[in-house]
Symmetry: C5
Subunit: 250 residues, 5 copies
């Protein structure tokens, strides 16, 4: 490979994301004195109101989800303009009264990313800005998973010529386009930021679509040969009234 010139992917970066999955200690929560629960719920509502204000002002987005299986109970998903604001959001929750009933389950830090194998992307293009600053849909379901591109023997993504990577990604994009209107995809890069190279968020009104798109895509050569997938988390969006019902608070 002497003389080989690396051909890195061209990327644009947008909002920073924190996926903050938590266990909820239901027995401790339900056994807490009424006053303590009310105070904790009141403070949690304040936090959600702050996050809603951030979203209204175009400085980020957020969503709370009820997660299936004991991997986690709740997902607090936040997008912000930078790392500092995410650290503040994480600490705000950790220092709240409600945190007494939470235990960490899993977390992931990444940055929304648009990538191109063939040349630099135009940050002024009309479709770019909104895709770099995506809003969390206020309903439906989320599917989150981290992933790597494989570097193993003959299947080494990072040694492929850019042209070959472009072809593989193009075919993959075509599969994705079949799900337009059914599944919203947000890709974030985590190289240098977390243990996997990317995070993927899928949003849909129907969780079956998560199964269909992931299964169909696995037959794309780029996934079949190069995709390495981490844990999958599926959750249902909780509006404030849904959350209060789950927590059993007025």
């Amino acid at each position: 490979m002497a003389g080989r010139v690396p051909e890195p992917t061209f990327t644009l970066e947008g909002w920073h994301l924190l996926h903050d999955f938590r266990h909820l200690d239901f027995p401790a929560w339900l056994a807490a004195p009424k006053g303590e629960r009310e105070a904790a719920w009141g403070e949690l509502r304040e936090i959600l109101a702050e996050w809603a204000r951030v979203e209204a002002e175009g400085r980020g987005s957020f969503g709370v989800f009820q997660v299936i299986t004991p991997k986690a109970d709740l997902l607090f998903l936040n997008l912000r303009e930078g790392l500092d604001a995410l650290l503040e959001a994480e600490a705000r929750l950790n220092k709240s009264l409600f945190a007494r009933y939470l235990r960490p389950a899993y977390g992931f830090y990444s940055v929304v990313e648009l990538g191109s194998q063939t040349g630099p992307l135009d940050p002024e293009a009309p479709y770019v800005k909104p895709r770099l600053t995506p809003r969390v849909p206020k309903g439906g379901y989320v599917c989150f998973y981290p992933m790597n591109k494989r570097r193993l023997g003959g299947d080494n993504w990072y040694l492929l010529p850019a042209r070959e990577r472009a072809e593989l990604m193009k075919a993959h994009g075509e599969t994705g386009r079949k799900y337009q209107g059914k599944v919203l995809q947000v890709i974030s890069g985590a190289q240098g930021l977390d243990d996997w190279e990317w995070g993927v968020d899928l949003f849909s009104e129907d969780p079956l679509q998560f199964k269909r798109i992931v299964y169909e895509m696995r037959f794309d050569e780029v996934s079949a040969r190069f995709g390495e997938f981490g844990p999958f988390y599926v959750g249902k969006y909780l509006a404030e009234e849904d959350l209060s019902r789950l927590l059993g608070v007025a």
Copy 2:
């Protein structure tokens, strides 16, 4: 592989499944005041009655199992028409008095799946509907394990032509048919839903059949070359009176 056209598997989806494995804190349970245990048991019986009602109304199915080895003590297995009903079942248990004595052990979310490598399945075919909405047998034993199809070097399931996959699955099906009447198999897909691609439930009156079918199938090329297996959980069905005996409650 230029020009290769992906040939995804055709699938039909049925009920959603939640495998909810729990540890039971026996010392805490047995040391609890009689009144608390009675209240917890009473509420647990109400939950089981609700789930029985769901099953009677054809909106799902359920079973409780005593699991061998310290991997878990109890399995709460629920099938429902959608994710919302599973989230409710999970939260119902988490918010119950009995949950004070439970700790999470393992969980898996998947959707009953019929698959075909050769063409779309007919959802109206007579054998299809019952297989998409299977009932948990009310007796005997369960064996659950998650699995993947391998994508490694020359052994990459998702790059095989559909015709080759069909042949391999056909031979596999023949091995399975030898166990007809002895083992009931329920296959569920978890692509995009959980950490493995499939969940497999085997139900039998004799746990030795789990050993025999799994061992024999491992010699099928599809398992030998492409099967990657997760943890195996084996349990015995608990009718309400069995559960009350295990818990030492009247």
Copy 3:
């Protein structure tokens, strides 16, 4: 591999085994009030007496071992005629007073297995029955480890012709025979029952023999190419008086 006919191993199955490894919370045990320790010890002795009765009546066997390293402190090893009796033994211990001082460390469920690559075994042969219902030696040491046969690229046990498997196992058996009289081997199958395909128990009067037989066997082609080994647990048999001394009870 078109037209390949799978050639599964022929097996006979015997007693069901539960390896139940536990941590002992020594500080909590030693700090417990004398009355509680005496009650817990009295109940534990009853359990051991029940298990001895089962063994005397030919319905199983058992042994308690002190395990080296913090992986576990105690091993409760039970063999029974079926899964139900093992579930009862496990629950009996979990519901005992002594369980307050135990925490799960590791467990394994399997079934004693005799295998042949060349043809069905005769269940009536004189050497078969005793090997399917082995007694735990009442002294000396135990070494337990689970294992798989590899299925990786060119080293795929389950794709080998039965004849080749037979030759490899024969050479392996010859190595084993050198240790006759020094090491008693009990092989149990766990396909469909637990996370590894087999469990191996070695019993010997001298723990150095575990090192010698395992090291020598690793040079056999069947182990070198196809053996995948899980954790190893080594323990010393505890007669009731040894256990009482370890626990500091009269």
Copy 4:
């Protein structure tokens, strides 16, 4: 490979590093009596003052960081002239009042390293000494990750001729130089000291630079073929007033 002569890398070693990642039990901290918190904070400030004195006297360096995601809350990063001083720093923190609210998250012990594939480095060269005794920047962000060089089939770093390793590292260095002034890199060796062969610290005023440099470098052949990466930790530098604000103490 008969007659092959190993060609080890030439290295110079500098300060010893301890990365000490901790969870902070926020609920316990915030619920502690005011007097206890003040005493703990007072003692922590003394420790930081001691570490600042060590740095002022040229005997080491240090920094405290707020870590994103639940992998850790705080990083205490210390560099010293030898292992004894690091053991003292670790024990000093462990024995402090503040340690009641900390739990271990992750740690890494390594030694600052300059390496050359082509010949011994001159310890008297002007650029060497400062690079062996780097100061932690007092602001901005840190990215830490451990890594190995792969030894797998045809991709075995340690079997490459020194000349080939030198070419690969030279190309890698050129990628690194593009980030001069944006990212400060500190490489430390951990062979024989910790579970990975190297630790990498990146310091920058902008966390996006971590993503860019790591992503771009992954296309270098030395990373693509030979890099194996452990967990990534990203944190923000905390001056004493930032730490007091995070902890809610005056």
Copy 5:
């Protein structure tokens, strides 16, 4: 490989070793009433005196070390003539008052081993006996790590002819000899005894030597192709007065 005759390594075995790594709960220890700490320290000194007596009588050796990073705080290293004496030493510590403040971190059971690829070793040779019954140096530092020899595709140690293994080990030994006087190596075998095939202890007055010898050896073909390494633990020898200072007891 028909007709291949396995060529196992010839070994001699010496003392049995237990590496018993522990976490110390500093906050609980420091918060304990003075009387309890004094009683616990007094009993711990008795244990150390017993172990010193065993060493004085030539029936074993021991050392206590302060371990860097949160992987462990203390290492209790014991060598004895057999497993029974190690089980007693482990139980003695577990049953002591000081154990209330310890939690298990990691452990390893192995037996000192001299190996030869070419023919049986002479147990009467003058250099053999002392190497089979090594004393723990009473000062300096320890580096411990477990390891395997690889069995993967073309890199399968156990399928190599003995002559080739001998050549590889000879070259490796030459690298080791460069460190004579700087690093004392103790190799112990754990086949059939613990989860890795060997344990390696390095003792030195200078922890940098651990880094140098391990790094240099990694370029030896036997390590580069066949070495698989577990976790590395580094600690500093604690004489009784050092331990009392660490614990803050008179």
